[in-house]
């Protein structure tokens, strides 16, 4: 009897083995994804309808948090900075491409140069932030010493609401360019030498060669570089936290930092309001995610 069921079980599994095995491998990942990604998304939606300090009992306030967000000037400052981040952070893609083109040659010691260019991506964002904070220091910093030689007065980059966001983005571009560079370097390895040869015979040179022959072949690398840069721009939290702590008077905040500030920082006890900001940020990200998924889907279908 026992052996019979065993056999039956085994044979059922045997019969469906091909279909089942991938799912078995996927189960741990799926469970983690459901528990740590999908569930918190819905939890955030729920919390955003509460007035809750994260410790005691929350009370439901409906869409009050969103209504307040609508009238909150700090929210618009953060949103504006997020957009500036998105636009300027994309500069990392062309910059990375040109450095990659520059480094894609066979010279003695090129590996060393490549690793030196890649170095800023390897070090922690916190270190990048600290280095740039010292660099920008209005009294002792290298930047102001340097422009001082040309007779320009000190610029308080991180303490002036006009420059602060750009100053932080410049710091962020340093590692992000390195990241794009490495993506393009691997992409350049896959460029078909025969096509380059053929183009050369047809008389293509310089910019035309780059634009019509090389860049189309780098499309996969460009896509990945675009994805990681957009995500990087929306996640820009650590640099802001290290370099300015959101200041001066909140002018360098982005949505993710503002969320942290109202919900989790030293003086933040408004989980509901924080969750509402998180939801807005999620909706913005969702636009990009949908676009990425859609273009990946199209790509797959094309093959």
């Amino acid at each position: 009897m026992a052996t019979q069921t065993e056999q039956a079980n085994r044979s059922w599994y045997k019969r469906n083995e091909i279909a089942l095995t991938p799912w078995l491998f996927l189960i741990p990942g799926i469970l983690m994804f459901l528990f740590y990604v999908i569930l918190p998304v819905f939890q955030s939606f729920y919390i955003s309808t509460l007035d809750w300090d994260g410790l005691g009992q929350g009370t439901s306030v409906g869409f009050e948090n969103y209504r307040e967000l609508w009238h909150d000037p700090a929210f618009y400052t953060s949103l504006r900075n997020n957009l500036i981040w998105l636009a300027l952070y994309l500069l990392a893609i062309p910059a990375g491409l040109f450095i990659a083109l520059f480094l894609n040659q066979t010279v003695t010691g090129i590996r060393l140069y490549k690793s030196l260019f890649f170095f800023p991506f390897v070090i922690s964002q916190v270190v990048v932030g600290l280095v740039f904070t010292w660099f920008y220091d209005p009294t002792f910093g290298l930047l102001n010493t340097f422009i001082g030689w040309f007779g320009f007065g000190p610029i308080n980059v991180l303490g002036d609401p006009r420059y602060v966001t750009y100053g932080i983005i410049a710091a962020g571009l340093w590692p992000q360019t390195a990241y794009c560079m490495i993506l393009y370097l691997t992409g350049l390895n896959a460029v078909d030498p025969e096509q380059v040869e053929a183009a050369r015979l047809d008389g293509a040179k310089g910019w035309r060669m780059l634009w019509y022959v090389i860049i189309p072949q780098l499309k996969p690398a460009t896509f990945i570089a675009f994805v990681v840069t957009v995500i990087g721009a929306l996640r820009s939290f650590d640099l802001i936290s290290i370099m300015t702590n959101g200041g001066p008077f909140g002018e360098s905040r982005v949505l993710s930092f503002y969320m942290f500030e109202v919900a989790l920082s030293e003086y933040g006890f408004r989980m509901g309001y924080g969750a509402a900001i998180a939801v807005v940020l999620f909706l913005i990200m969702l636009c990009f995610i949908t676009y990425f998924l859609y273009s990946m889907y199209k790509e797959e279908k094309g093959h």
């Binding site: 410790l55 220091d137 308080n156 991180l158 303490g159 200041g247 001066p248 008077f249 920082s265 003086y267």
Partner: protein
């Protein structure tokens, strides 16, 4: 279990009353302590004190965790709910409120009954919410203006007693090519020190407390007067340039290098200023001068405290520890090392330290003691307010917009 706990506390209290070495009655079990005393001097002080407590109670298993002071402020709410220690450091005043309201701090009013309560009476109000006491203070310190005595001597200046003198001193300092005051407002709270003092000297302690408690509008003319006084200093160019880029520690080199003459700060800054190369002879201290005659002089004296989380497992041991820390001898000893003031009025103050002894004298003569803006006002109001102060220091012309914003925030927060 409860009665045993109570009995043992009663016994402890009884013994404490007769001898100050009553803690040696051999506690057993565990005691888990979380501290935010991560700076070198406080860290060592607490480690030594806990080692002594351990020596009195050899059977007690003490586990101490020292957390970075800034990180502690955000971690506390996690460990109070999830993984509570038996004793935790925190601050007095409204700063306790977010943890008292949801019932995360244990009511320790019984410790305040009797002699200990009388000895700690000066801080009782700051430890009381809803008529109960929620912790025990171990230290407090004065705020005031720390200045370079050598620069003042060189320019023939004396410690100012009035705002007029303060301004004329400042003009003399400016004329000598220096700045009057260093400050680093990157983390906002340093600007609140200026606001607190200017407001308390302009409108008095009661008004200041009403404002931080939300009973007065921020758009009130009296608040505007405070800012007008502040603006006089700003327009003179009294503060260092680019202060928004610096933390309070990063602002010290300006004073050390003689580019700025003074610093409005808490007494904890003395160590850091001396470490930066300012000698004891070069550094001196004065009380924030009078602005409006007849307004009684209240001072800032933030109190550092110890609490028992409600989720603690060894409350009896924790109470014994709190009692130990609050006792006169221990307070004398730890505050001598911390360079701060003991709360227990039977303790003695380290007379060799001129800053501590001057501060003690000043606070004893004070009309009233404020905790600090971010401890007197609720957390959210503190954040919005301090951001406004920083903006005001950079763009004084925005004052009306700032005050309107603060008022709107206050209406939401104090509803």
């Amino acid at each position: 279990m409860r009665s045993i706990t109570k009995a043992s506390i009663a016994a402890l209290a009884a013994v404490t009353a007769t001898t100050s070495f009553a803690f040696a009655d051999g506690l057993s079990g565990d005691l888990k302590i979380f501290l935010d005393t991560s700076n070198p001097a406080p860290r060592e002080t607490f480690e030594t004190m806990i080692a002594e407590f351990q020596g009195m109670n050899p059977d007690l298993k003490i586990e101490t965790t020292i957390i970075d002071r800034e990180a502690y402020k955000t971690q506390i709410r996690n460990f109070l709910t999830a993984n509570a220690p038996d004793v935790a450091t925190w601050y007095a005043g409204n700063r306790m409120l977010p943890y008292v309201q949801p019932g995360l701090f244990e009511d320790v009013s019984d410790l305040w009954e009797g002699e200990l309560g009388e000895n700690l009476a000066s801080t009782k109000a700051a430890m009381t919410i809803d008529g109960k006491q929620w912790g025990v203070p171990y230290s407090y310190y004065q705020w005031g203006v720390y200045y370079r005595a050598d620069i003042y001597n060189e320019l023939g200046l004396t410690e100012p007693k009035t705002f007029e003198e303060m301004k004329s001193n400042c003009q003399a300092v400016l004329d000598s090519g220096r700045k009057c005051y260093t400050i680093g407002t990157k983390f906002l709270w340093t600007a609140a020190g200026w606001f607190d003092y200017l407001n308390m000297r302009t409108n008095g302690y009661e008004f200041h407390m009403d404002l931080t408690a939300g009973r007065v509008a921020w758009t009130d003319d009296r608040v505007k007067q405070t800012f007008a006084n502040w603006r006089e200093l700003i327009d003179m160019g009294a503060f260092i340039d680019n202060h928004t880029a610096y933390s309070w520690q990063e602002a010290i080199p300006f004073m050390a290098k003689g580019e700025a003459a003074a610093y409005l700060m808490g007494n904890f800054a003395v160590d850091a200023i001396k470490d930066a190369g300012v000698t004891d002879d070069q550094l001196d201290f004065y009380q924030f001068p009078m602005i409006v005659e007849g307004v009684p002089m209240a001072e800032e004296a933030p109190t550092d405290t110890l609490h028992i989380p409600s989720n603690a497992k060894n409350k009896a041991n924790a109470k014994a520890f709190l009692q130990y820390v609050a006792s006169a001898d221990v307070q004398t000893e730890i505050n001598a090392k911390l360079g701060q003031l003991p709360v227990n009025n039977k303790s003695s103050v380290n007379a060799d330290d001129k800053f501590v002894s001057q501060g003690f004298e000043m606070l004893n003569g004070a009309y009233a003691l404020a905790q600090f803006f971010d401890r007197d006002a609720p957390a959210e109001m503190a954040k919005v307010g301090m951001e406004g102060f920083q903006e005001f220091m950079v763009r004084p012309d925005n004052l009306d917009a700032i005050l309107t914003r603060l008022d709107a925030a206050a209406k939401r927060i104090y509803k």
